[in-house]
C-alpha cells in the first residue's frame, strides 16, 4: 500500500538518479550487459590485419576476444602502417578519447597495442621494449668487445711474423 507521499518521494529520487546518470561526466557502463553472448569473453583492443600481399596494414580495433582477428569489430580506434613512408615514418593514428572510454569499460590491450601506446607516451613504456633495448645494447657491446679482442690478436699475429 503505497501512500501518495511515498510515490512522490520515489518519483523525486528516481528523477534525481536519472539526472545524475545523464550528467556529462558519468558513463553508463553497459559492457557487462553485452557480454552475455560470449561465455567468459571480454573486449580487447588489438590490431586487425588488412591490406594486400606483401603490404600489411593494421587497424587498431576494439573487438570481442572470441571474434576472428579481422571480422566484425565493435569500433575502430585507429590505424597502424608498419611500412615506413617517403619521410621514413611509420604512421600511427589513435583516437585517444575512445581508447580511454574502452579502457574505462574494461578492455584489455594486446601486447603490440600496449607497445604502441607506450611509445606514443599515452601509457608508460612497455617493459619488453625496455628489455629489448637493453639486450640490444648488450649484444652491441659484446660484439664491440669481440671485435676489439680480434683486432688485438690480429695485430699480435701480424707483428710476430714481422719480427720473426
Amino acid at each position: 500500500m503505497a501512500a501518495p507521499e511515498a510515490i512522490e518521494l520515489t518519483r523525486l529520487v528516481y528523477s534525481d538518479v536519472l539526472n545524475f546518470n545523464l550528467a556529462k561526466d558519468t558513463m553508463v557502463h553497459l559492457s557487462s550487459l553485452l557480454l552475455k553472448h560470449y561465455h567468459g569473453g571480454h573486449v580487447v583492443i588489438r590490431l586487425a590485419l588488412g591490406g594486400c600481399t606483401n603490404r600489411p596494414f593494421y587497424r587498431i580495433v576494439a573487438a570481442y576476444n572470441k571474434r576472428a582477428r579481422d571480422s566484425k569489430h565493435i569500433e575502430q580506434l585507429g590505424s597502424f602502417d608498419p611500412l615506413p613512408n617517403l619521410y621514413n615514418e611509420k604512421l600511427v593514428s589513435l583516437n585517444f578519447q575512445r581508447i580511454k572510454y574502452w579502457i574505462a569499460c574494461g578492455a584489455h590491450p594486446t601486447k603490440p597495442v600496449a607497445k604502441l601506446l607506450g611509445l606514443s607516451g599515452f601509457f608508460p613504456l612497455y617493459p619488453m621494449t625496455v628489455t629489448k633495448a637493453e639486450r640490444l645494447r648488450k649484444t652491441v657491446a659484446q660484439k664491440e668487445a669481440l671485435g676489439a679482442s680480434e683486432e688485438g690478436s690480429e695485430e699480435a699475429s701480424e707483428s710476430k711474423p714481422e719480427t720473426a
Partner: protein, 339 residues
C-alpha cells in the same frame, strides 16, 4: 541489443553533427573576437574594424567580376520571368552572396616553430631505424590543438613540427583541394610564368586552399604576388576580389602605395585614394604627411596632395596624375554647365 545499437548510432550522429557545427562556429567566433579587440595604445592590426571597413570600401563590389563564369560542369542556363521588384530582390541577394565571397582571408603573423621535447629516453636508441608518428584522431578537437607526437629512432619523444602537422592533418582529415605535397606551381620559377600570364588571382586562391594563413609558404607566395603586381601596376586584377584588402595592407605596411595611388587617380577613384592615405596615417602616425594632414584636417583630394608633397617616392608622377584628373574634372564641369 538492437535498440542499444540504434541509440548508440544516433548519439554518434548527433555528436558528429554537433562537432561539425561546433568547429564551424568556433572558426567564425575566433575571427569575430579578433575583430572586437581594442586598438588603444597599439598599432592597428589587419583585423581591426576600422581597417576592415576601409579595405572593404576600397575593394569595391563589381558584380560582373565577382560572378564571372567559373569552370564548372556544363549546365544549360535557367531563365526566370521576374517583375522589377523581384529583380531588385534578386540583385540584393546576389550582392549579399558576393560580399560573402569577398570576405578577406586573415593576415596573421608568421607561426613560431615548435620544438618541444616531451621525453628523452636515451636507452631506446638503436631499437628502431624509423620514426613513429602518433596522431590523435579524436573528432571533436580543433586541428591546432591536436596532439601529434613523434618518437625518433634515438628515443626522444617530441612534438611534430608545423610541416609534419599539416601533412598528418591533411592525411587523416582531408580538406578538399588541398594536396599532401604542395604543387610545384609555388616554386619561384613557376610563379614567374604564372605572373606573366596575369593569373595572380588564381594563384592566390590556390595558395589559400593549400597553405595555412600563418605558414611561411603562404606569406612568401602572397608577398611575391603583391610585389609583382606593384612592379607592373596590375592593381585592377585584384580589385573586387577578396585579395585586394590583403594587398593594400601589405603595400601600406611596406610604404609602397605610390603606384596604387596613381592607378586610383587615373581611374577617378579619389575617395578610395583618400581612404588608402587615411589607412597609411593610421599605420605610420609619426610620419611627416600624417602630421601635416592632422594640422590641416584635410579631406579627400587635399589628403592626396599633402601626401604627394611630403612622403611620396614618385611625387612627380602622383602630382601629374592629380593635375590630369583636375583638368578633366574642370572640363566636365565646364561642359555640363555651358549648355
Amino acid at each position: 541489443m538492437a535498440a542499444f545499437k540504434i541509440t548508440r548510432r544516433l548519439i554518434r550522429d548527433v555528436e558528429l553533427k554537433s562537432a561539425v557545427l561546433f568547429r564551424c562556429a568556433r572558426r567564425t567566433l575566433c575571427s569575430e573576437s579578433a575583430n572586437n579587440s581594442p586598438t588603444d595604445g597599439r598599432s592597428p592590426r589587419f583585423s581591426d574594424k576600422e581597417v576592415q571597413n576601409i579595405l572593404t570600401k576600397i575593394t569595391g563590389l563589381d558584380l560582373q567580376k565577382a560572378f564571372r563564369p567559373v569552370k564548372q560542369e556544363l549546365k544549360p542556363p535557367t531563365y526566370r520571368l521576374m517583375t522589377d521588384a523581384q529583380l531588385a530582390q534578386a540583385t540584393q541577394k546576389a550582392m549579399q552572396v558576393a560580399k560573402e565571397r569577398l570576405k578577406m582571408p586573415p593576415v596573421l603573423p608568421e607561426r613560431k616553430p615548435i620544438d618541444d621535447v616531451l621525453a628523452e629516453d636515451k636507452f631506446l636508441e638503436g631499437l628502431e631505424t624509423v620514426k613513429y608518428v602518433f596522431t590523435d584522431i579524436t573528432y571533436n578537437i580543433p586541428h591546432r590543438e591536436r596532439f601529434i607526437v613523434i618518437r625518433e629512432p634515438d628515443g626522444t619523444l617530441r612534438k611534430a613540427t608545423w610541416e609534419e602537422r599539416d601533412r598528418m592533418v591533411q592525411l587523416y582529415f582531408p580538406r578538399e583541394g588541398r594536396r599532401l605535397t604542395p604543387p610545384p606551381v609555388f616554386k619561384e620559377e613557376n610563379l614567374k610564368v604564372v605572373f606573366l600570364q596575369d593569373r595572380h588571382e588564381d594563384i592566390l586562391d590556390l595558395c589559400l586552399v593549400q597553405f595555412e594563413p600563418d605558414s611561411p609558404d603562404y606569406r612568401r607566395v602572397h608577398n611575391l604576388t603583391y610585389e609583382d603586381i606593384d612592379k607592373h601596376g596590375k592593381y585592377d586584377l585584384l580589385r573586387s576580389t577578396r585579395h585586394f584588402g590583403g594587398m593594400v595592407w601589405y603595400l601600406v605596411n611596406g610604404k609602397k602605395i605610390d603606384g596604387l595611388l596613381i592607378d586610383m587617380i587615373q581611374r577617378d577613384l579619389i575617395q578610395d585614394a583618400a581612404s588608402v592615405i587615411h589607412l597609411y596615417h593610421m599605420l605610420h602616425p609619426r610620419g611627416s604627411s600624417a602630421k601635416e594632414a592632422g594640422e590641416q584636417q584635410a579631406q579627400g583630394i587635399d589628403l592626396v596632395k599633402i601626401f604627394a608633397r611630403t612622403e611620396s617616392q614618385k611625387a612627380g608622377y602622383v602630382e601629374l596624375a592629380l593635375q590630369a584628373y583636375q583638368e578633366t574634372s574642370t572640363e566636365c564641369s565646364a561642359q555640363s554647365s555651358s549648355p
